[in-house]
């Protein structure tokens, strides 16, 4: 048994562009689920709209590919009706933080027992590279042709503030760490939020000085800073370089949660 058994082999290769990190995140999530030893019949994948949300279509289990931003309420319905099911939500930054922002904070507040894996590529990939709520300041996209002027969302901090039980962030470079984080999220009751920063070579990298996929992955690697180190920096009052991606486990707690099988 390996995570490869979870793929719908007849649907591969998938629609993602060459070098897109989404496939890596699917691998890591499925590997973590495989390690949990969950049954395929009892595992449900839910997603909204976007590149990331195509993921459940490549997985053999029952899955819901829903409307834009609404994956979390659909997942809430599934989980509340059948708490015995393991519900995993694949979502993207636009899906989760823009159109689904309200659903996201309320799912965190309810602390419903689902695992949310957010593939954050900082752009609307499927519609052709428009600025999203996580597009960093100054980054170019088709709707921010002179550089984004809006501040970006920090999804992890948002999830913590809204009350999620487990929050972690890794990148598509850190496959082993990401797998462990997803597994920790799956094990933890309550809402687990794992943000995975991924490269989008076609729509983000191309416009933002990452000519090759590997340049963007190298950027993800070199700009990642462990949360512990980041906190030390802050304590000492040291400046953290711009564009630092704080990675690691942000929070692991045991607030009361909903939808946990009794």
């Amino acid at each position: 048994m390996s995570y490869e058994d979870w793929f719908r082999q007849d649907r591969l290769p998938h629609i993602y562009c060459a070098g897109c990190g989404n496939g890596t995140i699917i691998n890591c999530t499925l590997e973590a689920i495989e390690e949990m030893g969950w049954k395929k019949e009892e595992t449900i994948f839910v997603s909204g709209i976007g590149c990331s949300s195509r993921a459940p279509g490549y997985i053999v289990t029952d899955s819901l590919h829903t409307t834009h931003g609404r994956a979390l309420p659909f997942a809430t319905g599934v989980k509340m009706a059948r708490p015995g099911f393991h519900v995993i939500v694949f979502t993207g930054d636009g899906d989760l933080a823009a159109i689904g922002g309200n659903h996201f904070i309320h799912a965190c507040r309810r602390n419903i027992d689902i695992t949310v894996v957010c593939m954050n590529n900082q752009i609307y990939g499927m519609t052709g590279g428009q600025g999203s709520p996580t597009t960093p300041k100054g980054a170019l996209s088709t709707t921010t042709p002179f550089g984004s002027v809006e501040p970006a969302f920090d999804l992890c901090e948002l999830a913590i503030a809204a009350g999620a039980n487990y929050v972690a962030r890794w990148t598509s470079y850190h496959v082993k760490e990401l797998t462990k984080a997803v597994k920790a999220g799956l094990e933890n009751p309550g809402l687990s939020f794992i943000e995975a920063r991924v490269q989008c070579p076609t729509n983000y990298g191309r416009r933002n000085k990452f000519k090759q996929v590997l340049d963007q992955v190298e950027h993800l690697r070199s700009h990642s800073m462990l949360r512990q180190k980041y906190l030390q920096h802050q304590e000492r009052g040291d400046a953290v370089p711009d564009g630092t991606i704080v990675v690691g486990e942000f929070v692991k707690r045991n607030r009361p949660s909903m939808g946990v099988p009794r």
């Binding site: 290769p13 993602y16 060459a18 990190g21 598509s172 082993k176």
Partner: protein, 90 residues
């Protein structure tokens, strides 16, 4: 065990060339039938996982497989053949 790249899935992104600690994956040079530059394997017998997975009973590294966004890298059981001599570089 041996590493295998599924040419029908590989999109030639070369992400595997970053992850491998042995640098087994080398950027491809010749486009295949689909026009994809599939990476080449440089002395794949050095792969730790290929050599020792059976002994330890678990995946030992597998970063290339996990990283491959197109699910094109696989570890396949080899037909029981002659033991391969592996030169370990220090």
């Amino acid at each position: 065990m041996k590493i295998e790249i599924d040419e029908s899935r590989c999109k030639g992104c070369n992400l595997c060339t970053v992850g491998c600690p042995y640098k087994i994956f080398q950027a491809g040079k010749k486009p295949n039938r689909k026009g994809v530059l599939v990476p080449l394997l440089d002395r794949p017998e050095r792969c730790t996982n290929c050599r020792l997975q059976h002994l330890y009973g678990r995946v030992l590294c597998g970063v290339c497989q996990m990283t491959c966004p197109d699910q094109a890298i696989r570890f396949r059981d080899e037909k029981s053949g002659e033991p391969v001599k592996v030169a370990i570089e220090y």
